[in-house]
Subunit: 435 residues, 2 copies
């Protein structure tokens, strides 16, 4: 790569992050952190005329992001379009193919097509950087890719979606339902009109898939992630978990063992005093466990125009250094195939909530059934509920936590409990985070 | 800089970190994170024969670290000797002068001579990296230098010395004095035989001086740091602070305002629920406040052979990328002179502990004196103490916290209080951390 005195940027996608970046660069007319200066020489977006917080009329406009990506007028292509396929992928491929460094905030693109894009980038000897794709302004990507490259990372776990964290925090604080809080979050602009990517856990799964590839040296494999969102987290479970000393968080985790890699996103219980439980609102938080370094914890704002644009600007500075390193932990040709661990074999503690008939012998029946199935109970709570919610179907709630148990054993036990005559509905299963 | 297929390392200093690095490299015979492979082609230390956890007999030995630093047999010089001057400085200058990249864990050297070394490194176009100098395995340097280069950092505050944090944690947990716990820490190897650098606050001051230079784009200026260690932290204050809802931590901070930069290390009170208060034992923890990114929090093990060697290894990987960027935030020639803020002008909340005669009217006299001096009281605690310690000189303790007040006003008020007839000893002043 050639070192330039002036680096000409082509910016495709002018939503929150794109206009945030243009604002940042306008505020820092001499942004030259690595000695070279950044200047925007082309922009592209779906609509040229849409109202934006930044006036783009003075910037060279290109209708087609692919044409911008390969333009002789740019030295770095900044992709802020979003989406795993379509114009974002076409433009990034075109830019890399033309030997242009790419900076992107696109988690879906990297999580779903990162391995093939890494091959392309490394063949051309140009960087493909995506700090803004994970945890917004918190440099999780750089920490895992560069700072911990001298360590053997064993596990990563954290809160990677601010929208879900905001919703769960608000549900607990205000006693409102998921639907009510989601509606408020949409009105405030914290949640999209179609909230599926966030509340369904897919956004967090994209991010943890990227971190797993960086940490473990395997190809990112979004398809292998086990994903459960927060749509079915009931206020009742938030309250009962709290009675047991826990808070429900959407926890994304990646664990490596000799069996392979397990990537999961689940609503999970974290002990109230734990830093993950204490990261409220739209915060993101992450634990990284390394064989040498031990546990590192990082926390900060995971989204927003300011933090995300700052992350994009930091990547642009990294391009300016002209240093090259593998896109993921090791050169793309050496990335191990992603070897998924069968989730049924994973071992962990669980929370179960049952709705049962209020009659003698029920607790004995449940505990005997669990014991016969090989599940050991850690704590047990039966508590009268005023204004019992409809979710209990007229029964009373029993909640219990288990000691560590294989998922397959737990699932079999749940089937047996669900079949008990006094149990009125399928037991609700939530995991206790391994943190 | 030339990209090598094999990077030959000269390692000077074979203490905990040096042998930790050799162990790491032996465990990773093909350590090649950026495509080039690392191999040790020379070692140097004060004693060749001293017993070490790693057998160095197979490694080429050089008596003089300066000779190793300039040897034609090495491509990267790794300085793990320590000390702000003497052989460490001579060897680093020699290596940079010979156009060799330098990786060091030497906080004193960078804090006291960083600006001149940066000039030398940048003139030669070679990297000078020191991730291991601050927070051990937690990548504070990389985060501030690279990841937040797109932000305007306003303040940094945290716990940067694990030895002090261990001692303060143990004092609170066991009710033992500073001297007793220090003795134990020395026996366990957590504290040096001469503990002055750690317990006197100088080590933390070196580290925060480096972070200030990286964050604010000014030359590091250790001499300007205001430093108070933990030698005079009394168990009584730990207990009384706790009664008020605080925990005493050695907090290092750097703040930038239009007046200049204020770098301080003080035993300070942090609210019990605050993440800094909850970082116990040998942990390090840091808040970074940026205008765009907001608050980032990082925490992890700040010392030890494993984490520190991993940080050195990460720096070696960074050299291998052959990317060059300024040693601090901006090129050495553009570093602003460090403009210190007069500490007397700094504004903050304070904790005062008085020893007073147990007689009527004392509280009135103290509160009137403070009011006349312009200091506003936030909370006030008078509490009988069983087995009153000698430090109270036969009096009873009064503790109070103030609202935010200028340091000069506070100091003047303390003089007036000390002169009251009922006050038996100089008031003990501790700061409440601005976090």
């Amino acid at each position: 790569m050639t070192k330039h005195k002036t680096w000409r940027l082509g910016v495709a996608g002018l939503g929150t992050v794109g206009t945030g970046l243009l604002t940042f660069l306008a505020d820092h007319a001499k942004y030259a952190p690595a000695g070279g200066q950044a200047v925007v020489t082309g922009v592209s977006a779906r609509s040229r005329s849409r109202p934006r917080p930044f006036d783009i009329s003075g910037l060279p406009w290109v209708d087609d992001p692919v044409a911008l990506a390969t333009s002789a007028e740019i030295d770095i292509f900044v992709e802020l379009i979003g989406g795993s396929d379509g114009p974002a992928k076409a433009a990034v491929e075109a830019a890399l193919g033309a030997g242009k460094p790419v900076v992107t905030a696109n988690k879906a693109l990297i999580a779903e097509h990162g391995a093939e894009l890494a091959v392309l980038a490394e063949a051309k000897g140009v960087p493909l950087l995506f700090e803004a794709a994970v945890m917004g302004g918190v440099p999780a990507v750089k920490i895992v890719r560069e700072a911990l490259v001298g360590d053997d990372i064993r596990s990563i776990a954290g809160i990677l979606n601010g929208t879900c964290n905001f919703i769960l925090t608000e549900m607990e604080a205000t006693g409102r339902s998921f639907g009510e809080v989601l509606g408020e979050a949409q009105r405030l602009g914290y949640a999209e009109a179609d909230p599926t990517m966030d509340v369904g856990g897919f956004d967090a799964a994209h991010k943890i898939s990227i971190l797993a590839a960086l940490a473990f040296g395997c190809a990112p494999n979004f398809a292998a992630a086990e994903i459960e969102g927060i749509e079915n987290v009931d206020l009742l479970d938030i309250q009962l978990a709290r009675d047991l000393g826990y808070r429900i968080k959407l926890v994304a985790s990646a664990d490596r063992s000799s069996d392979g890699v397990l990537v999961r996103v689940h609503p999970s219980l974290a002990p109230l005093a734990h830093p993950l439980a204490q990261a409220g609102g739209a915060l993101n938080a992450l634990f990284i466990d390394g064989a040498r370094t031990g546990r590192i914890f990082i926390q900060g704002p995971g989204a927003g125009a300011g933090p995300t644009a700052a992350a994009v600007a930091a990547d642009i500075a990294d391009v300016m250094t002209t240093g090259t390193r593998p896109v993921f932990q090791v050169p793309a040709s050496q990335l191990e195939p992603f070897k998924p661990v069968d989730p049924a074999k994973s071992i962990g503690r669980a929370y179960l909530r049952l709705s049962v008939k209020d009659e003698p012998g029920v607790i004995a029946a449940v505990s005997e059934t669990l014991a016969e199935a090989g599940v050991s109970i850690e704590s047990f709570l039966q508590k009268p509920i005023e204004n019992a919610p409809a979710i209990l179907k007229g029964g009373v709630p029993i909640v219990l936590t288990t000691h560590a148990v294989a998922e397959s054993v737990l699932k079999a036990a749940i089937e047996r409990i669900a079949a008990l005559p006094a149990v009125l509905d399928r037991p609700r299963l939530l995991r206790i985070a391994r943190i």
